[in-house]
Each structure stands twice: as structure tokens, then as C-alpha cells.
């Protein structure tokens, strides 16, 4: 349901389903984070501020007409790129990776922004191109995606760069990329895998992939994270060990409990039942996005809703797949749950834009 409240000439654009579901997730997230952070109230308070600010931001971002985003999408992209470059120059280096820009009150992970602005820009660029998309436009788009992918991958941040790559790829695909091109691209990718392995992956990234392929080789070394994560999830059983009772999380066996591995904490403390409840909220949000995309007013809105919701879905599934040990370890937050302001805010913005695209109607569809 899209809702349009009229206050004389002033209208409020709002989708109560998404709003309720996202608020629910955010509150659950704070609740989980309290346990995952070893009952650290300051972490939760900080996150709560982000949640409140994020919800407000989501509401504000959903007010402008989609045309506003269509018009300024290029500016947004340039702004995001500037942030990336600034990060390259002034970025804060943590554990050998330069991903963060210190803004004083807030440490911004600039790559989180571009994964929103890139699909919007591409939607705007491709929405009025004739079908199927010409080779020329395909290549222009691909070069842009490849360029931004390379920028993020250089930080190095393989996880986010893949999501950035996907965010562009989804829009291109939804806009009508020719199947022949898709087929040859996949073939080319597979053929160049060894080359990519040797030239683009950092040694620690290679190690993660090797660990994934052979997890038993070194359970106390590189496979520690994933081993402990599986133990945490598995030992949760059906009912879980109870809130704040997870031994894996509370005795420090599980790494990164507040961020990447928070799902393992939830699974340990709330069991399979808790997992099902949490995932059904996520599933509901995705289904709602599908519905909104189908009912969007024009091609730009469709592409944007499709692109952004798929970015959300990809982040979610990569995180889950990593935590249960199906894909190698990549740094990827659980949307709306994991600690971390940048990712949180970027998803509030994304859903704000989705709501804007879904709620603004035109009498005459283009």
C-alpha cells in the first residue's frame, strides 16, 4: 500500500509496511547488539542514535519526487566518487585497509555510499535508452562500473566492491542487457579466473578462499572464525541458549560478534526459531520491494527500486552465506542489525529512495 496523506497542498510520502518492518529490524538489532557487545551500553546507545537518525533520514529522503533523484543522480555519483578519492588520500588505515574517512563526529565508509548512488545513476542513464541496450551504452556502463569496482577493490575491500559491482550489474541486467552479451561475459569471467586470482586478490583474500575450500586444514588458524561461527549456530539448537546466554559469543570464541558475525550470536541465543523469525522479516521486506517495483510509476523508478532492493538482498545473503560457512569470509554486515553507522545509514537512505519511487504517482504514466 502506498499512502499519500494530504495536508492541503502539503503531502507526506510514506510506506507503512516497509517502515514498520525496518523499524522492527532496527529495534531487534539494538536488542541483539546489546548481547553481542557483551552488554556494552555505550555501543548500543551509539547505534540507537544512528537508528533514530537513520529512520528520520529515511523519512526525509522519501519526500522528494523521483524526478529530483533522476535530475541529480550524476551529482550524487560525483559526490560519492569525491568521497572515495578523499578516502584514498586522507583515509584512516585500519588493519592494512584504507576504507574509512574520519569526519570527526562520524567515521564514514565511503564505499557504502557509492553502492547507492551508482545504481541510481545507472537507472537514470539507462531508463530512456531503446531496447535492447546498444553495445555502446553497455560498454559505457560497464566501464563506469569497472572503474568504481576497481576503486573500491583497491582499498582493499573485496566484499563491498563486489556489492558495488553487483549494484551496477543488476541495473544493467534489469534495464535489458542482451542475453548474448551476458553469456559471453560469464564465459570470459570464468576463463580469466586464474588471472584474476594472481593479480587482483591480496594474499589474505586468497587465504580466505583456500580456507573456505578446505576448512579442516587449520581449524585454529585461518579457519577459526568460520569454525567458531558454525559451532555457535549449531549449538543454538531449535530454541537457542537464551538471551545473553550464548557461550560462544560471551566467552570470546566467536569473532566480530557486533558486526559480521552477529547472525551467529542471534542463532546461538535464539535458535532455529529465532532465525526463522528474523529471516521472515527480511523476506517480507524483499517481497514488499518486489511488489513496489512492479507497481512503480515509470522505468526509472522500477530500475531504482529493483537495483537498490537487490543490493540489500545481496548484502543480506552474502552475510548469511558467509556466517554459515557457504562462501569464504568477506567483510559484509547484516543489514539493519550489525554495528556500523555507514552501512546502516546507507540502507536507510536506500529504502527512503525506494519509498519515494514507490509513493510518488503521476496522473499520466510515461
Amino acid at each position: 500500500m502506498k499512502k499519500k496523506l494530504d495536508f492541503k497542498n502539503f503531502s507526506i510520502y510514506f510506506d507503512q509496511y516497509l517502515f514498520i518492518a525496518i523499524t522492527l529490524l532496527s529495534v531487534m538489532g539494538l536488542f541483539f547488539l546489546y548481547s553481542a557487545s557483551q552488554e556494552d551500553i555505550s555501543t548500543v546507545a551509539k547505534q540507537a542514535i544512528f537508528v533514530c537518525f537513520g529512520l528520520l533520514l529515511m523519512f526525509l529522503v522519501s519526500q522528494p519526487d523521483p524526478d529530483f533523484y533522476n535530475t541529480f543522480s550524476g551529482l550524487f555519483l560525483i559526490f560519492s566518487l569525491v568521497l572515495i578519492f578523499l578516502t584514498m588520500i586522507f583515509g584512516k588505515e585500519i588493519n592494512g585497509a584504507k576504507r574509512w574517512l574520519d569526519l570527526g563526529f562520524f567515521t564514514l565508509q565511503s564505499s557504502e555510499i557509492i553502492k547507492i548512488s551508482l545504481p541510481i545513476f545507472l537507472s537514470s542513464y539507462l531508463y530512456n535508452k531503446p531496447l535492447p541496450i546498444s553495445t555502446r551504452h553497455t560498454f559505457i556502463t560497464l566501464i563506469l562500473i569497472g572503474f568504481i569496482f576497481a576503486l573500491v577493490a583497491r582499498q582493499p575491500d573485496l566484499g563491498t566492491s563486489l556489492v558495488v559491482f553487483m549494484s551496477g550489474g543488476y541495473v544493467l541486467f534489469l534495464a535489458g542487457l542482451s542475453w548474448r552479451f551476458i553469456g559471453s561475459a560469464i564465459a570470459l569471467f570464468l576463463l580469466s579466473l586464474p588471472f584474476l586470482w594472481n593479480n587482483f586478490l591480496e594474499p589474505f583474500q586468497q587465504q580466505r578462499v583456500l580456507t573456505y575450500l578446505n576448512p579442516d586444514a587449520d581449524p585454529y588458524g585461518t579457519a577459526w572464525n568460520i569454525t567458531q561461527s558454525k559451532i555457535a549456530i549449531g549449538s543454538g539448537g531449535i530454541n537457542g541458549k537464551g538471551y545473553q546466554e550464548g557461550s560462544q559469543a560471551h566467552l570470546d570464541f566467536l569473532p566480530e560478534t557486533e558486526t559480521d558475525f552477529i547472525f551467529a550470536v542471534i542463532a546461538e541465543e535464539f535458535g532455529f526459531i529465532g532465525v526463522c523469525i528474523l529471516l521472515s522479516v527480511f523476506f517480507f521486506i524483499l517481497l514488499r520491494c518486489l511488489y513496489l517495483a512492479f507497481n512503480a510509476r515509470d522505468r526509472f523508478c522500477r530500475l531504482t527500486i529493483g537495483g537498490l532492493s537487490l543490493v540489500f538482498a545481496s548484502t543480506l545473503f552474502i552475510n548469511l552465506a558467509m556466517v554459515v560457512g557457504v562462501v569464504p569470509v568477506v567483510g559484509m554486515p547484516l543489514p539493519f542489525i550489525s554495528k556500523g553507522g555507514s552501512s546502516l545509514l546507507s540502507f536507510y537512505i536506500a529504502f527512503g529512495i525506494i519509498i519515494s519511487m514507490a509513493t510518488h504517482k503521476k496522473l499520466m504514466q510515461r
Partner: protein
């Protein structure tokens, strides 16, 4: 503007493609749900166990080692609780700083600091603890406890140190305890079905095992079984709280046959001379006295001594570590004669009426070589009894001359020579009963008749330990009815009917006994000086072990200027006769006279055992 048709195619293409991706994600969603289900439901028990293993740690609790008693219930070895200062080397980054800081509170001696420096690294590697100062005073404990917050890596705990109440008396018999190698720890844990599981050894760093003596032989019984404390731990291995405690089973007490009083007497009599005393209780065949002198302080070794003191012990020319009683090899010399006499009777080479004129020497018919007796001019015409009482060499030279060497060897083996005769002695030596094969293999020479002749008076290649000599003495006393010796009464009384392989008549045994009584009681006896030292009858045979062969007494006087060249004094004895209860052997290195030097020690020990 795109026309309507195109817009319709575009819309359909978009929906199809979006649905395609959603289907892919839907499949992924189901797969992840299935994966979570398989972790949480199908494999739940595996992961529950893994989580349990993660968060709990077993810490072994050491049992208290068994107490060792003598046969009258006197405690010989006990455990003494002390408050020790213990550190965790793996948690100390800078050892020098640590020592400086701790020294401000508790004074450490040079040898204690040396001990820390020596063991620190290894303990840190194995995550073991290290005791840096033992037996703290109340004042020191109070001083440390007040400042203990400064020392997260050190603590005071009660530890048991092993205390031998008579540290010099039983050094070789009971032995000492000490720390054990990591391999040994692992094998002990394996035997008790325990896994090391990176145990910090919080409660078992004082892990000790018997190194020598009965402490070693009965180590597993004395040790007991480990208890377990289960702790909740975090990923860094910190012990958070105790979950359960399975108490250790303390070691069993060891009730030995050793007799404190006779051991004391023997020690006093030996007066630090080099030698050994072994006494046996005949009825049970058990060892009541087991002494090797000079001795050493066994507690020093058990509980750590400075390396200077240790070097001093190691380099002592009198070799106090050496267990002369169980490992010292001495020729039996004339003490062998009763066994040779029995051989003569058994093989019908002689009988008790046979006489021989002893000119003081024996000439080997083969090469005219002369074998001398100890008395110039000889003993005159003597029978075998006289030959034992007066210790005639000539008589036994000529008896041995007529013996078949192989028969003689198997006969002597029955008396305990050349084999281990003790069930629970630590590293017992078997002495040497030379055979023609042994000589060929070791000396590359064939067996000469002269070798057999030498064997007749217990000289030459043959050697025996004081334990074997005591066994021999007891064997004579019990007329061949003797089993293996033991310090401890065995649980299963293996009174398997003893088969006396020696076909020797009781009357012949009696004759031997009366001859050996004569050694002391007869005015001609070689040990007649012992007669007034006791109030009962004792049978004995003395011996004097020639270390350097000399032709005349003048030659010997020259030789004996070097103390190390003087003859060993040796005696075997048993009594009271006619129903002997105890047998004893005494060896005094370079003591010169079996009868008058070793004899009084033997009699003093027998007095202690019998007159109570």
C-alpha cells in the same frame, strides 16, 4: 518518448528479469535456511558438544603421594605441606623485571634465582607453572598477599614436598622423587585415560615421580589417580569459574619390610666407610636392611638442591650415589666355599670324611702353576669341615680342580649368583658368573682349568652384589628353600611349592651349618673374634677379596700403602642357630679382613634384629 508497445515489452522484460533474480535469491534463501536447519537441528548434538568443549577446561588435581612405612609402622617417607610461591612463566613478559619486583617483597637466594632462570623458558613453552620459592614463612605469605594485585602471574599455594624422615638411612633403598619429563607426563596421563588438553597444570605443577629405589618401583601405586576440576574458560583460556570437582584418589601407602632400627644400626656401624649391608628376614624372604654407604641426603635431591651441592655429590670420589648394595660387584672370595663344598658332596667328589694334606698351596698339574692359601705352611691334614672353619684355599682349589665347569656354574646359579634375585630392587645388577662362552666372547680367551680352580675360592672373574650375597646366605640358612627377595609383601601370596632342584640331603645341610657355626664358635675359626659379641649362635663365612695378587705378606704390606689396593672385607652370616631367622651380608671396601672388620657389623645388625 517510447511508444506504448515498446513500453509494454520493456515492462515485461523488466518483470521477467527481476523475477528471475528473485527466484535465484528465493532459492538461496531456502538453501541458507536449510543450511541453518542442518547446523541447528540435524547436527545439533555435535555442535553442542563442540561448544561445551570450547567453554570448559579440565584441570588435573594431583593426588597426595602414598606414605612409606617400615615393618613396625614407622613412617619413613611422608608428604609435608608447604606454602610455596608459584609463577606462571607463560604470562610473564620480562623475567628480569619480574625478579627485581618480587625480590622487593620476598628475598630470593642465588640458587633460587638460578633455578628460575634455568627452568623459565621450558615451563613457559609447555604452559606449566614454576615454583620459585618453597616453604614461605607466615611473614612472607602476609607480605605477598597484601601486594598480590601487583603480581597477576604469581600466587601462593599449598604444595606437598616429599620428606624422607631419615634422609641418609634409606637413600638407596627408597630412592628419591623428582620432576618428570613432558613425555613421561603424557604417558602417565594416557594410562589414567586423561588427555592433556593444554592443561595449565594449575594444581599439578608439583608433579613428581619416583626416580630411584622403591619410590620408582612402586611409583604408580604411590602416585594415585588424578582428580579433575572443570572450569569455564574463555577463548583466551582464562579460568572463569569452577563447574565441578572430581576428587583425586590419593596414592596407596607402601608397607615395606624394612626395619628402621637395624638400618640405623647398620648405618652407625658402617660409619661412612665404603660398603654395603643387606639383611633378610628368612621366613618371608624379605629385605629388612638395605644400606649402601657413604650415603647422601635424599631430600636434597627430591626437593631441589643447588647445582654446587649436586656437583659435589657427583664428583665425590666415594661415589655416594652409587648403590653398592644392589649394584656393587665384589668377588665372593672365601664366602663361596660352603657352596663349593655342597657341590663336592652333590657330585660325590668328596664326602665329609675325606681328608687332604694342605701344604699351603695347590699346584695345577697341567702347568705347575702355584695357587696359594692365606696361611703360610698350610693347615695340615684337614677334612672339609675344617677347610670351611679355617678357610683352606688348598682344599677348595683341589675340589674345584675335579669339578666340571658347566655343572659347577649351574650349581652356583642355584645359589643366586649371576642372576637377579630380587623382585622389587631398583636396577639390580646380576653380578657375574663366568662361563667358558662368556670368557671367549668378552676376553677372547679359552677357559683354563686354572679358571675353574680360582672359582673354587670365589676369586677370578666371578662377582656378586651384596644383595646376591645376602640371598646366598639366606639360601644356605633355609637349606635351599628360598624364593626371590622383596621389600614389600606381595598381595597375592605366591606360595608355589618350592622345588628344591638341589638334591642335597638334610644331613649335608646340617654339616654345612655346623661348619659355618664353627667359623665363629671354633677356636680355629676365621671369625672367632665375633664369638663374644652376641648371646646366641651364629653361622657365618668370612672372605677377604684380594684386589692385587701378592706372593708374600711383605709384598702385601707394600701394596696396602695405597688404600684403594687393600683387600675388601666380606662376610655372610645367619642366625640364631639352629633355627635361623635372619641372614645378612656385609661388604666393606678395602676393609682387609672379613672376619674382624665386616663381621662386627654383621653381628651388630643381627643383634638388633634378633634381640628385641
Amino acid at each position: 518518448m517510447i511508444d506504448l508497445n515498446e513500453r509494454f515489452i520493456e515492462k515485461r522484460s523488466f518483470f521477467n528479469r527481476l523475477l528471475l533474480i528473485y527466484f535465484f535469491f528465493g532459492a538461496m534463501f531456502l538453501f541458507l535456511l536449510f543450511k541453518t536447519y542442518s547446523l541447528q537441528v540435524s547436527s545439533y548434538s555435535d555442535y553442542e558438544l563442540a561448544a561445551l568443549k570450547n567453554k570448559t577446561k579440565e584441570v588435573l588435581v594431583q593426588p597426595v603421594r602414598g606414605v612409606i612405612y617400615d615393618r613396625n609402622g614407622n613412617i619413613l617417607v611422608n608428604n609435608v605441606p608447604t606454602y610455596d610461591l608459584i609463577i606462571q612463566p607463560s604470562k610473564i613478559k620480562n623475567l628480569d623485571d619480574f625478579i627485581i619486583n618480587i625480590s622487593k617483597i620476598i628475598e630470593l637466594s642465588d640458587s633460587e634465582i638460578e633455578n628460575i632462570n634455568k627452568n623459565f623458558k621450558r615451563r613457559a613453552t609447555y604452559n606449566r607453572e614454576l615454583t620459585i620459592k618453597k616453604d614461605l614463612s607466615k611473614e612472607e605469605i602476609a607480605k605477598f598477599e597484601v601486594r598480590s594485585y601487583q603480581f597477576q602471574n604469581a600466587f601462593i599455594d599449598v604444595r606437598y614436598s616429599r620428606e624422607n624422615k631419615y634422609p641418609y638411612l634409606f637413600s638407596h633403598a627408597l630412592g628419591y622423587v623428582g620432576g618428570v619429563s613432558n613425555d613421561k607426563v603424557l604417558s602417565i596421563l594416557k594410562n589414567q585415560d586423561l588427555k592433556q588438553s593444554e592443561t595449565t597444570f594449575k594444581y599439578s605443577s608439583g608433579f613428581i615421580a619416583g626416580k630411584t629405589g622403591l619410590e620408582n618401583i612402586y611409583d604408580s601405586a604411590l602416585r594415585g589417580s588424578f582428580g579433575k576440576k572443570l572450569f569455564e574458560v574463555d577463548a583466551r583460556g582464562r579460568l572463569l569459574k569452577e563447574l565441578s570437582f572430581e576428587k583425586p584418589i590419593n596414592g596407596k601407602s607402601l608397607f615395606t619390610h624394612l626395619d628402621l632400627n637395624s638400618q640405623k644400626k647398620a648405618f652407625e656401624q658402617m660409619n661412612n666407610r665404603r660398603g654395603a649391608v643387606v639383611a633378610l628376614e628368612l621366613k618371608s624372604g624379605s629385605i629388612v636392611t638395605y644400606l649402601s654407604t657413604p650415603s647422601f641426603n635424599v631430600n636434597g635431591l627430591s626437593n631441589g638442591m643447588s647445582s654446587v651441592d649436586f656437583e659435589k655429590l657427583i664428583n665425590d670420589v666415594d661415589k655416594p650415589f652409587f648403590d653398592r648394595a644392589g649394584q656393587g660387584r665384589y668377588s665372593p672370595a672365601s664366602t663361596i666355599k660352603p657352596a663349593i663344598a655342597l657341590f663336592g658332596i652333590k657330585e660325590k667328589i668328596v664326602d665329609w670324611n675325606f681328608t687332604l694334606k694342605d701344604p699351603g698351596f695347590f699346584v695345577l698339574p697341567e702347568d705347575q702353576r702355584i695357587y696359594r692359601g692365606w696361611k703360610k705352611g698350610g693347615h695340615g691334614t684337614i677334612d672339609m669341615k675344617d677347610a670351611i672353619i679355617e678357610s683352606s684355599n688348598t682344599f677348595f682349589f683341589s675340589l674345584a680342580y675335579k669339578a666340571d665347569i658347566n655343572n659347577l656354574i649351574s650349581h652356583l646359579s642355584e645359589f643366586g649368583f649371576g642372576r637377579n634375585v630380587c623382585k622389587d630392587c631398583f636396577n639390580p645388577d646380576s653380578g657375574l658368573l663366568p662361563t667358558p662362552e662368556w670368557k671367549m666372547n668378552n676376553l677372547n680367551f679359552g677357559w683354563f682349568k686354572g679358571d675353574t680352580v680360582n672359582l673354587g675360592v670365589g676369586q677370578g672373574y666371578m662377582s656378586a652384589t651384596p644383595v646376591q650375597l645376602a640371598y646366598y646366605s639366606a639360601f644356605l640358612a633355609k637349606k635351599g628353600n628360598l624364593q626371590e627377595l622383596s621389600f614389600v609383601e606381595s598381595d597375592s601370596i605366591s606360595n608355589t611349592a618350592f622345588i628344591n632342584k638341589l638334591s642335597i640331603d638334610n644331613s649335608d645341610w646340617d654339616q654345612i651349618h655346623s661348619s659355618m657355626i664353627g667359623v665363629i664358635e671354633d677356636p680355629r675359626g676365621t671369625a672367632k673374634r665375633l664369638k663374644p659379641l652376641k648371646s646366641y649362635v651364629v653361622a657365618a663365612k668370612s672372605g677377604t677379596v684380594e684386589l692385587v695378587s701378592t706372593e708374600t705378606k711383605e709384598d702385601y704390606k707394600l701394596v696396602r700403602q695405597n688404600i684403594g689396593n687393600r683387600d675388601h672385607a666380606i662376610i655372610v652370616a645367619f642366625g640364631p642357630m639352629p633355627d635361623p631367622e635372619y641372614a645378612v651380608s656385609v661388604v666393606i671396601e678395602n676393609g682387609e679382613s672379613g672376619g674382624s672388620v665386616a663381621g662386627p657389623v654383621a653381628i651388630a645388625v643381627l643383634n638388633e634384629l634378633i634381640n628385641k
